[in-house]
Symmetry: C2
Subunit: 239 residues, 2 copies
DNA sequence: CGCTATTGTCGCACTTTGAGACAATAATAA
DNA sequence: TTATTATTGTCTCAAAGTGCGACAATAGCG
């Protein structure tokens, strides 16, 4: 989908996305930096006047990561009246040679609908948008100071992800199509922030019926070669 | 808090609330009916330009139920572009002798942030607002046809409530301050839509540490008199 | 005063979970 | 080629949790 023309957005409404990736060791999220400003924030955007909210978020995600079919979940809408800094927004716009009238909604308060996404860290080439210098991965415990209430948004995203991890088994969305049980367990441990029992984890994962076992991997790793697994999409679940 | 003056709301933004109550037998929700129109909808409202989103919802809830300290939880934001009916909104406004210009945001699309509330059915005296004839309790399986996507909102509210029931033990918010174990179990069964094992339920509730047992009730009921319980607020939990 | 339905609790079987033990095995070193 | 070593897949066992029924206690009723 195409982005709407510049001023054809719903006023006072934005979305922010917490994009999770797993580096192999750590859980990370995408953070963007505005031009010239040293200000860091979550990637977000606006909703076109005729655009579904969910579509707007997918559009922004696709623009920044190149990925189209992504696990995405809305988790909270932040609506406090004081969650904006007109001076900050003004500076960001000025740094990009954008001028808006002083009573424009861009300089007023925002409601922001927050989403989190789970993506395969390795297939992403982060692309900055028009307003930002860079967009990069940051480990959760090494985040730069974020604008507005974005740190609160990140905390809540992680909290929701942890809760959903138990009831939806979404961890495999952070991995490449083929992965080992150990890699999957590392993902879970990174999300939950605690060690898990190896045998129990394996048992539960296999019992879930969501994994399909492939042949052995031979390559590389010393010691016994592990199986590889594939995430079985819901359409092909076993009854 | 006072309601803002008529035209001082954030455009294109609304909230809807699914207010749950428990009649003793059934789970019910509050539904309002617009003046003259036979149209039913969830109680909702708008957000003042300088008002926190959560405060706006509490304000609306307080106006309609008279209750101030209510269990309230945001669960989803509905943002599809087609979730509005300009003709319907126009008719509602006309039936109340309200005139807005044809390009007013009230006749355009809405983003709606949805909340559910759990309240003590018996302490509520539903009060219609300026736009509605009536506001009444309806059992979940006897709802009238609702406007817009409000039926979808109700379904999702119930789904979220069921999920949260397990992890937060919120059922007691639907009961008066003192209640018996059987009443509490009835609440859970009404929410989940299934029978629960009596002894397991009792065991788990007592183990949660959220209930404080009082003396026997003597009054009324034939057969052995049950204990009464009180919901222990978080501040007084046992460690 | 006995009958009956309901309550609080216990016991039992079954399932789930955590922790360790075991053999199998693939790369490395001898 | 063979021994070593770390890792994997599976198993066993104990601990904890859960569903289900049994039991005595008890309050109202006839």
């Amino acid at each position: 989908m195409q982005a709407p023309p510049p001023d054809d957005y719903l006023p006072h409404l934005a979305y922010d996305s917490v994009v999770f990736g797993f580096s192999g060791e750590q859980l990370k999220i995408l953070i963007m930096e505005y031009h010239q400003t040293k200000w860091f924030a979550l990637p977000g955007g606006f909703v076109g006047r005729d655009e579904n909210l969910n579509d707007a978020v997918r559009r922004g995600l696709s623009e920044r990561t190149g990925l189209d079919d992504v696990y995405l979940e809305q988790f909270y809408t932040f609506g406090d009246a004081d969650r904006f800094r007109p001076a900050v927004m003004d500076a960001i716009l000025k740094a990009n040679d954008l001028v808006v009238p002083p009573d424009h909604w861009l300089l007023d308060r925002f409601i922001s609908v927050a989403y989190y996404a789970l993506i395969d860290y390795n297939t992403v080439v982060p692309r900055p948008d028009a307003l930002s210098d860079s967009i990069n991965w940051y480990a959760l415990d090494e985040l730069p100071p974020l604008l507005f209430d974005h740190e609160k948004i990140v905390r809540r995203a992680l909290q929701t992800l942890r809760e959903n991890l138990g009831k939806k088994l979404v961890g495999m969305n952070l991995l490449p199509p083929l992965f080992t049980m150990k890699e999957l367990q590392r993902v879970y441990e990174a999300i939950l922030g605690e060690k898990l029992s190896r045998s129990s984890f394996q048992r539960k994962m296999l019992a879930s019926g969501l994994l399909e076992r492939r042949e052995k991997r031979l390559l590389g790793g010393a010691h016994k070669a592990p199986y590889q697994y594939r995430f079985r999409r819901e359409s092909e679940e076993i009854g």
